[in-house]
Amino acid sequence: MDEIELIRASQDGDLDSFNELVRRYQKLAYNVAFRMLGDTQAAEDATQEAFFSAWRNIRRFRGGSFKAWVLQITANASRDQLRRLKRRPVVPLESLPYDPPSVSTESPEDYAIRKEIGEHVQRGLTTLSHEQRMAVILCDIQGLSYEEVAEAMGCSLGTVKSRLSRGRTHLRDYFVKMELIPTELRHNK
């Protein structure tokens, strides 16, 4: 079944069709939530909450990009989770899990460096405002187009561009402070 049929069936209350949509989008939603929150448990909770909310509100989906719709709900769920985390902060950043490289061509040293850099980048993301973080995650990590980001964030293209620009500049400053960028530049050359 293609996506439109699945959505229509879901709107008619077919949970199996909806779960097929969940299967297709859960990794994207989870990754976005994880980058927003920096915590696996919170990201899982946010993702579950997002799909719950999607199921409850599936009838309100009136066409357009389903992906953007899911991402919008995920962003909201992440925001709720963030508020919950702020009330009782439990974010052990040191224990952020990173998938071991599936094709292990890199040395343990490289992997350790990559893991450390990953943690720094994630930490840098959490210094951004919610909107800037969402724009950076959707555009630079998930590779969405400006248009898709605008739809997922429910704002204009201009707003996306300015959030992205500010977010990147802010992150750049953070990376410079953490001495991540000079290292990267050297590696790249």
Partner: protein, 318 residues
Amino acid sequence: MWQAFWRPKNECSRTRDVLSGYVDRGLSPEETARVEEHLSRCQGCREELESLRATVALLHRLPEVTPSRRFALAPVKPMLGRRVLPALRFAAAGTALLLVLAFAADWTGLFRGGIVSNPRFGADTLDFGGNEMIEEGDSFWVVAGVVNSLSDNAQGSMDLVVPNHTDNVYVAVDSLVDDGVIYGAMESDPDEVPQIALMRVDEGTASGEDLEKLAVVTASSSEEHRFSTNDGATYYWSSIIEKQDASYLNMLSSDNSELYSFNLKAAKKEVIAAKETDWLRPLEYSLIGLVAVLGVAMAALWLRQRRARVIEVSDSKN
């Protein structure tokens, strides 16, 4: 360190504002050309661009993460509460509305039987109910300040006013003058101050022409206590004497020659007592109980629903 490559502000800051877009190749051809032209001349902005590219590259390199579980939803049987809850809400709202209406009705005296509005007096009339014969031994509630219609099958209706009294009283007919029954006849010009005549009928003379008018009660506020008879004598509503279980309303003629005593059974106290205990009727108690039961039921259903919602999440790890 980027400040070291500072350039004239307008040009550099204009360029830097759009560098993020330039990184994504999202600028118009003209703007792209302008940026590239500036970059060829400005080391600072080139560094800025490189740093932004490096930032984006770092973000690109973040690995995709895999959740440790699936997020599929498991079907659950439709909850009883889902169907019952809206109905319960509706019922509770309706009951609450009824309760409010019941209180309002009680407050405005709707439950007190027989009172209807009398436009002529702008007050309430207590209707004792049509065709019953007034006889010795009868007794009636008389509402203060309003027209109380008594009726008799021979005489038609009779109005009795107890003006300027703070509460309802109870009139016992058997305590009127010894050898007769007092009838009242409402007979006055509508344009004038309303008056009520109290008349005595001796036994055996029940026809209207033979009525002896004892007193006329005027409803004007200044002379509420004064009655005048048809022969010109004036009677005063002189006193109310409280005894153990009854009050006596005494009417005294102006020359003190005649005293008529009406037995007003201790109504005032009863009414006050009744007001204290009677403000909530059984109906209202039942409604409150119903609302309480509905509230508890809804709370229980809500809790069950919350639990059910948690069950609905498929937490399978496969």
